[in-house]
């Protein structure tokens, strides 16, 4: 059976693209963090030195804002006070100027400050028009740290793609012009280590990929939601481009966001798939040898259907020039390994398969490779399928 898959990877422009995207996230995170968190903190700190004076409450109510199916509330309290012989009217309860859900907590504050109530306020001696009733840190200040996530993810993401990108996926290529020159000492590879295998080959964890996709999904959806609320509350884009255009653009971005959410969910579910590992029973595996191994798994296997193990030999060729890289793969050998008995009996059993003598051993150069691997597949109803690969080095006698 022959199979061929194509992987097309771009580099170069993609690097700058991600640098810009993450930079935008970082800048937006910094801006929001400054206004939502740092500015109140600075004001509260300064207000600790303000002068305490008597004041009288002139207005006290909870103001509501409705939009997008939810209502938010804000404490609206006015008070009059005197400073240096002059009369002023203040309107700031505390340094939290944003409205939020939760009517009860705001109402409790308003009930503490009824109209006509005499209390204390704090006045800026350098600018007496500035005054506040409550100069303490408030609970909602913690939520104002959310932009910090955007800032950190954006900063490290931009840093990563600016200086690393996809460089580590492949070994460094050679610099050449005209005639080919030796790449990186590929000519001599007689050491025993070249074909050595570990005793146990474990599956590569998908946690890093999941975390990366998940972080990107949060950033993307955050931007889309911000754009949605901006378009609906201010109406300014509707004046310029019309509601249809702005909503179409957001719709496209929202579809991408939905795709990212589904991908994150898929990767998350895949994390809980049974994790296999292969224990090799041969000291060294060569062409013509009988490969013996055990399949190990610590997870529950009862939902797996159509379980299969096979030995696969694959050639791969990478073509890279300019900004493009193309990888082509072709399976030149595939043999199913008989799996008898129930699933839980299979785990820990010894399997064997003969490596053909007339094929090529494992080989890896910068652009071309011959790989041998043990492939474990299984189907799980309504769940991501199992498709695990374990690369083995097949050497020469």
């Amino acid at each position: 059976m022959q199979n061929q898959s194509k992987i097309y990877a771009k580099k170069g422009k993609t690097n700058i693209f991600f640098v810009l995207i993450f930079s935008v996230f970082a800048i937006m995170g910094a801006v929001f963090l400054y206004f939502m968190f740092l500015t109140p903190i600075i004001k509260i700190t300064k207000a600790k030195k303000w002068v305490e004076v008597s004041c009288v409450i002139s207005k006290s109510q909870v103001v509501s804002h409705s939009g997008d199916g939810s209502t938010t509330y804000l404490v609206d309290i006015n008070f009059t006070y005197q400073y240096n012989g002059k009369r002023y009217e203040g309107g700031q309860y505390n340094f939290n100027n944003s409205s939020s859900s939760g009517f009860q907590s705001k109402n409790e504050v308003v009930l503490q400050y009824p109209v006509g109530f005499q209390t204390k306020c704090f006045v800026d001696p350098k600018n007496p028009i500035e005054a506040v009733l409550n100069r303490e840190y408030y609970n909602d200040l913690w939520f104002s740290l959310i932009p910090l996530i955007f800032l950190l993810v954006g900063f490290f993401g931009a840093f990563y793609f600016l200086f690393n990108g996809y460089q580590k996926r492949y070994p460094k290529g050679m610099r050449y012009y005209g005639n080919l020159k030796d790449t990186n000492n590929l000519g001599k590879s007689d050491s025993d280590d070249y074909f050595s295998n570990p005793n146990v080959i474990k599956e590569v964890s998908g946690v890093r990929l999941f975390l990366f996709i998940f972080a990107f999904t949060i950033l993307w959806c955050g931007i889309v939601l911000s754009a949605v609320s901006f378009t609906n509350t201010t109406g300014t884009t509707e004046e310029f481009f019309g509601a249809i255009f702005s909503n179409l653009v957001i719709f496209v971005f929202a579809i991408v966001g939905l795709g990212l959410i589904l991908l994150s969910l898929y990767l998350f579910l895949k994390l809980f798939n049974p994790k296999f590992s292969i224990e090799l029973l041969n000291n060294k595996i060569c062409l013509g040898d009988e490969l013996k191994f055990k399949v190990l798994c610590r997870s529950n296997l009862k939902n797996i259907e159509h379980f299969s193990i096979s030995l696969v030999g694959m050639e791969s060729a990478i073509y890279s020039i300019g900004t493009n890289t193309e990888t082509e793969k072709h399976i030149f050998f595939e043999k199913d390994i008989p799996v008898n008995g129930k699933l839980d009996q299979m785990i820990g059993s010894v399997y064997s398969v003969k490596i053909p003598l007339d094929k090529m051993h494992s080989f890896k150069a910068n652009h071309n490779a011959i790989e041998w691997k043990i492939v474990i597949k299984g189907e799980i109803a309504m769940y991501p399928d199992i498709d695990s690969e374990f690369i083995i080095k097949v050497g020469v006698k």
């Binding site: 170069g12 610099r175 005209g178 300019g322 900004t323 493009n324």
Partner: protein
């Protein structure tokens, strides 16, 4: 199955094809380069032969005993700090050649831009317009493609190929992608049962 070394569209055979010029000779491009104070960019889309042409220009420069510093960039050969440092160290007599200008990030590009003004010359390839003047716009046409295919399969009249005009249009003139598809097509051919017709 046609094995890799017998496939007429293998990378090594394609790389040996000389650049097919639409204009008369390399000297005309060089004149354009001298006119722009020895600065110039070869621009054009993917797979039109920019890198091939660049190598021929470098060959001409080397034959004139010029001091060349060649940097070839691709997915696995990234422009790093070391490259930037080496370029900044170049003396006024050097000519810098960069294949894959768009691979360089904008921060490094800024430094390289300033440096190339102080060198004897610069020539590069790029997919997009840059601040460096374009000395040649590389492009392809169907006749060039048909000629190249004829050169590659000249020793094998029995090879059956798909409709080359349709293939050329499908890939929007990207000859490299056309060759990739032809490679895949030929590699699946049964050697013993090849047709005698060849289209194009």
């Amino acid at each position: 199955m046609i094995s890799a070394e017998h496939n007429p569209f293998s990378v090594s055979k394609i790389h040996k094809l000389p650049y097919r010029f639409k204009i008369k000779d390399v000297e005309a491009i060089m004149e354009n380069w001298y006119y722009h104070n020895n600065q110039g960019m070869i621009s054009g889309g993917h797979g039109v032969g920019k890198s091939t042409l660049l190598k021929e220009l470098v060959f001409v420069l080397e034959s004139k005993q010029e001091k060349i510093r060649f940097v070839m960039l691709n997915d696995k050969r990234e422009f790093g700090l070391k490259d930037l440092w080496n370029i900044l160290q170049l003396d006024k007599k050097s000519i810098l050649v960069i294949d894959g200008w768009e691979q360089i990030n904008f921060i490094y590009k800024t430094f390289v831009y300033f440096k190339i003004k102080r060198l004897k010359g610069f020539v590069g390839t790029s997919h997009v317009r840059t601040m460096v003047p374009v000395i040649f716009e590389a492009s392809t046409d169907i006749n060039t493609f048909l000629d190249l295919v004829a050169q590659l399969v000249s020793h094998n009249n029995k090879l059956s190929l798909p409709d080359l005009r349709i293939l050329f249009d499908k890939h929007n003139g990207n000859i490299r992608d056309c060759f990739f598809e032809l490679y895949d097509f030929v590699s699946d051919c049964d050697r013993e049962n090849m047709d005698t017709t060849s289209s194009g």
